[in-house]
């Protein structure tokens, strides 16, 4: 889990850097203005990345009990 959780920084970086580096209308990406497409892809990537983080997090395993409970 320790290394996998840093994957969550990827969508954070794409959202925060996109407006500075990809602030353009053309070329259209997937038929949408470039920046709009970039932000939508960041959102889709958030879902994929957070699913990976969730799956590799031992706290979500069935029957997991927090120490001290």
């Amino acid at each position: 889990m320790s290394a996998v959780r840093y994957l969550a920084l990827v969508p954070v970086a794409t959202v925060m850097l996109g407006p500075f580096f990809f602030n353009r209308v053309t070329p259209f990406l997937f038929g949408l203005p470039f920046l709009l497409s970039w932000m939508a892809l960041s959102l889709a990537m958030t879902s994929v990345v957070m699913y990976i983080v969730y799956r590799f997090d031992p706290r979500n395993a069935p029957g997991y009990v927090e120490l001290g409970e």
Partner: protein
């Protein structure tokens, strides 16, 4: 009475029936009314959290903002990404602490974490002040929808009153159970309408989505990207940051996390909610489709974009279905906000006043009755503000966001293992942040008015960042001055937890 109005009324009655029916078989104690006895599984928690995504802010404000400003509207996609990432790590410890101490509201959490009833009252007051503009924007949206979708068969004021009465009834009867079950109806209907409009309108008027964007780029070059000044990249990223930090600071969102049965439910939402937020694209398509078809809407009228183009395109029965979906985007989130404000006033303000005046601890049954009776009074205040008119939906929400975001630094400090902030630091930080937001909102100052020597590229930063920065500085300075207090509070709480 036209067909559109019949469909809108029918949907309101269905929502009322679902909302009232939701309390069947449950003893509506304060804990059931506010946090559903902490018994909601992943599905209902998802619906409560997702309910926040499809409010009139998105349905009317999202399409209106895309119509009015173009590229800057994309910030709504950005804060969705970041909020859900953040939720994975902040919601489980909040839920765990709330469950351990049987807390019912956001101020309870702060008061218990910092061992400070005064901080609890401050957080309750901030919550009430921030939620009022949020309730007003739902009611404002409701008025627009009923009036426009009924072809002026009902006035905006009549629409607002009818929606408000429906909401108050099922909030008083069913509390959060009513909000959860009407969310089911709302989300199905809104999803269907958003996808249909987002696909049909570009095809009908332009022959497709890409041809629509090509036509807009030809007519208004650069409209679909961020401008060089004003709402530019710096504005967008600072606004995304502020709204991300504020997203779960809303009292009703905070309390929605208390309803979960387990912390896994909350973590699972971190990967399911972003998919749901993707539906915003279709709402944007509606706004963009309107740009060249119905030009000239300005100021608060940009919120009418979705309905103006719907009326120009469809028969009344289709407009009625769109109006019905729109009504639900106002009354379902409105019910959660109403319940949150009523709970804050009863559980955290009234209870504290009663305790200090006659030194008597009110029991939860009595507080529950007060909360239910507060609901219609809160709604009346919301109605009064709504009927005053004024700002656009998005500008109202961004102001309210600046207020709730000021709670984030203290919250973050509270869930750190060593809690590095004293209660005095937390209180002063919040007060400084809120005072800054109030001054900036009243004087309409920009960041370059505040800091004349600021570098050019930072001049368009959202002014809420200034309030947040001053908040953190004040919090740390006061904590440094009262350092022993932080340790003492923390040790006291640890001792309480062990006991």
């Amino acid at each position: 009475m036209n067909i559109a109005l019949i469909l809108i009324f029918g949907t309101m009655l269905l929502a009322l029936w679902l909302g009232v029916r939701a309390q069947r078989g449950k003893d509506m104690s304060l804990e059931q009314w506010t946090v559903a006895g902490r018994g909601f599984g992943a599905g209902l928690v998802f619906l409560l959290m997702a309910g926040e995504i499809y409010t009139t802010f998105v349905f009317l404000g999202g399409s209106g903002f895309a119509y009015g400003v173009g590229g800057p509207a994309y910030y709504m996609l950005g804060f969705g990404s970041l909020s859900f990432v953040l939720s994975y790590w902040i919601l489980p410890p909040i839920w765990r602490f709330a469950k351990q101490h049987r807390l019912l509201s956001q101020p309870d959490f702060f008061a218990k974490k910092f061992n400070s009833p005064a901080l609890g009252i401050l957080v309750a007051l901030v919550g009430v002040v921030a939620l009022m503009p949020y309730l007003v924007l739902q009611l404002k949206g409701l008025g627009i929808i009923v009036s426009v979708a009924s072809y002026s068969g009902l006035s905006s004021t009549q629409g607002v009153w009818i929606g408000a009465i429906v909401t108050v009834i099922y909030v008083m009867v069913s509390g959060v159970h009513g909000s959860a079950w009407t969310s089911v109806l709302k989300d199905f209907l809104v999803l269907a309408v958003a996808i249909f409009l987002g696909l049909y309108l570009p095809w009908h008027y332009y022959g497709g989505i890409t041809p629509m964007f090509e036509a807009i780029e030809l007519a208004k070059p650069g409209f679909l990207a961020l401008p060089a000044t004003g709402k530019n990249a710096v504005w967008m990223t600072s606004t995304v940051l502020l709204t991300t930090l504020g997203f779960y600071m809303w009292p009703h969102m905070f309390m929605a996390s208390f309803t979960a049965k387990s912390e896994q439910s909350l973590r699972r939402n971190a990967y399911t909610l972003p998919i749901y937020q993707m539906m915003l694209l279709f709402v944007f398509f509606v706004g963009f489709a309107t740009v060249l078809q119905i030009p000239g809407l300005t100021g608060p009228d940009i919120d009418l974009a979705l309905f103006k183009i719907s009326i120009a395109t469809f028969d009344p029965w289709v407009v009625g279905i769109i109006g019905a979906a729109g009504v639900l985007t106002a009354i379902v989130p409105g019910s959660m906000i109403l319940m949150a404000v009523s709970t804050l006033l009863a559980n955290n303000v009234y209870r504290a006043i009663r305790k200090s005046s006659d030194n008597a601890e009110a029991d939860n049954r009595h507080i529950g009755r007060v909360a239910k009776l507060a609901a219609p009074l809160v709604m009346l205040v919301g109605l009064w503000f709504t009927l005053q008119g004024g700002q656009t939906i998005v500008s109202l929400l961004l102001m309210a966001y600046s207020l709730v975001t000021q709670l984030f630094p203290a919250l973050l400090a509270s869930i750190m293992p060593s809690r590095p902030v004293s209660k005095a630091g937390a209180i002063v930080g919040i007060l400084v942040g809120e005072a800054t937001v109030a001054v900036l909102s009243v004087t309409k100052m920009t960041i370059s008015d505040l800091i004349p020597f600021i570098p050019d590229f930072l001049k368009d930063t959202n002014v809420g960042v200034v309030a947040l920065t001053l908040n953190v500085i004040a919090m740390l300075l006061v904590t440094a001055a009262t350092r022993s207090g932080a340790k003492q509070d923390s040790n006291q709480l640890r001792a309480d937890s062990i006991a």
